[in-house]
């Protein structure tokens, strides 16, 4: 079955309604997401103003309750690979470059949000993230996560992106939200 991708909105990048200012962004919220698509895809390229490796967290519909459960695995260029499972008040899509990383290097996160408009099932997502850091092999990582927003009643109508380590996403970070329709 063919599918179509539609750019719903973007922050930064060409043709955007909004670009991250030079002072950075603490929290970016994509609101009033139409429920007319089958799935959503979120693409993030970001860097944060903190040192070392940071995190990107996602929250749906502003839900700050402990309603996000996850399983993840990660590997890095040195050190022991790891993984785990748990729950929390947001889903952390680690990882993101910081000031300790190679200059001007941004991470990549791709998140597929399946059946986001369902009003009868929990919403599941799959994310993969890669952090490249040529300055330090210990800070080069990749991470794969699956998680569920355990809300069965409400369609996802907003997505909040923030750094839970308490710093800003820096200028030139980009966020693209696509709607995927089954034709």
């Amino acid at each position: 079955m063919p599918s179509t991708y539609t750019l719903i909105t973007s922050i930064g990048g060409a043709g955007n309604p909004y670009t991250v200012p030079s002072g950075g962004v603490t929290t970016a919220t994509l609101s009033s997401i139409p429920s007319t698509y089958t799935d959503l895809k979120l693409l993030i390229s970001a860097r944060y103003s903190g040192s070392s490796i940071g995190d990107i967290a996602i929250r749906f519909n502003g839900d700050t309750g402990s309603n996000y459960s996850y399983v993840e695995g990660y590997g890095q260029s040195t050190g022991t690979p790891g993984g785990g499972k748990g729950s929390g008040a947001a889903r952390h899509n680690s990882i993101i470059n910081g000031t300790g990383s190679t200059a001007s290097t941004f991470n990549n996160v791709e998140i597929n949000i399946i059946d986001y408009a369902s009003t009868s099932r929990a919403k599941v997502s799959i994310a993969d993230a890669v952090l490249e850091n040529m300055a330090s092999t210990t800070n080069t990582q990749m991470r794969i996560q699956g998680w569920s927003w355990n809300n069965t009643a409400n369609a996802i109508n907003s997505i909040t992106v923030f750094d839970p380590a308490g710093t800003n996403l820096v200028e030139f970070s980009t966020i693209y939200l696509y709607g995927i329709s089954n034709a």
Binding site: I8, T26, S32, A57, G166
Partner: protein, 79 residues
């Protein structure tokens, strides 16, 4: 040194309207809770990775020396 103002940036996907405003008091409280939770999560993750690496190193050393492994050490190398 003055802390930077926490700013909320909202893009309305339907209208394209962009809103920028400072955090509300409630959002600041949630932000502080998020930072604390993330710090704890990072510490747990680091501790778990270090503990696993130590177990693996210990298991390897014992294997080389021909010494018996603990069950925990064996679990790090037995598929």
């Amino acid at each position: 040194m003055t802390e930077p103002t926490l700013m909320m940036h909202i893009v309305n996907c339907t209208t394209g309207e962009v809103t920028e405003r400072p955090y509300t008091a409630e959002e600041i409280a949630q932000y502080e809770a998020d930072v604390a939770a993330n710090t704890a999560r990072r510490a747990e993750e680091t501790a778990a990775a270090e503990a696993l690496a130590a177990l693996k190193a210990s298991a390897k050393a014992k294997l080389v020396a021909g010494e018996p492994l603990t069950e925990e050490e064996a679990a790090t190398i037995v598929l």
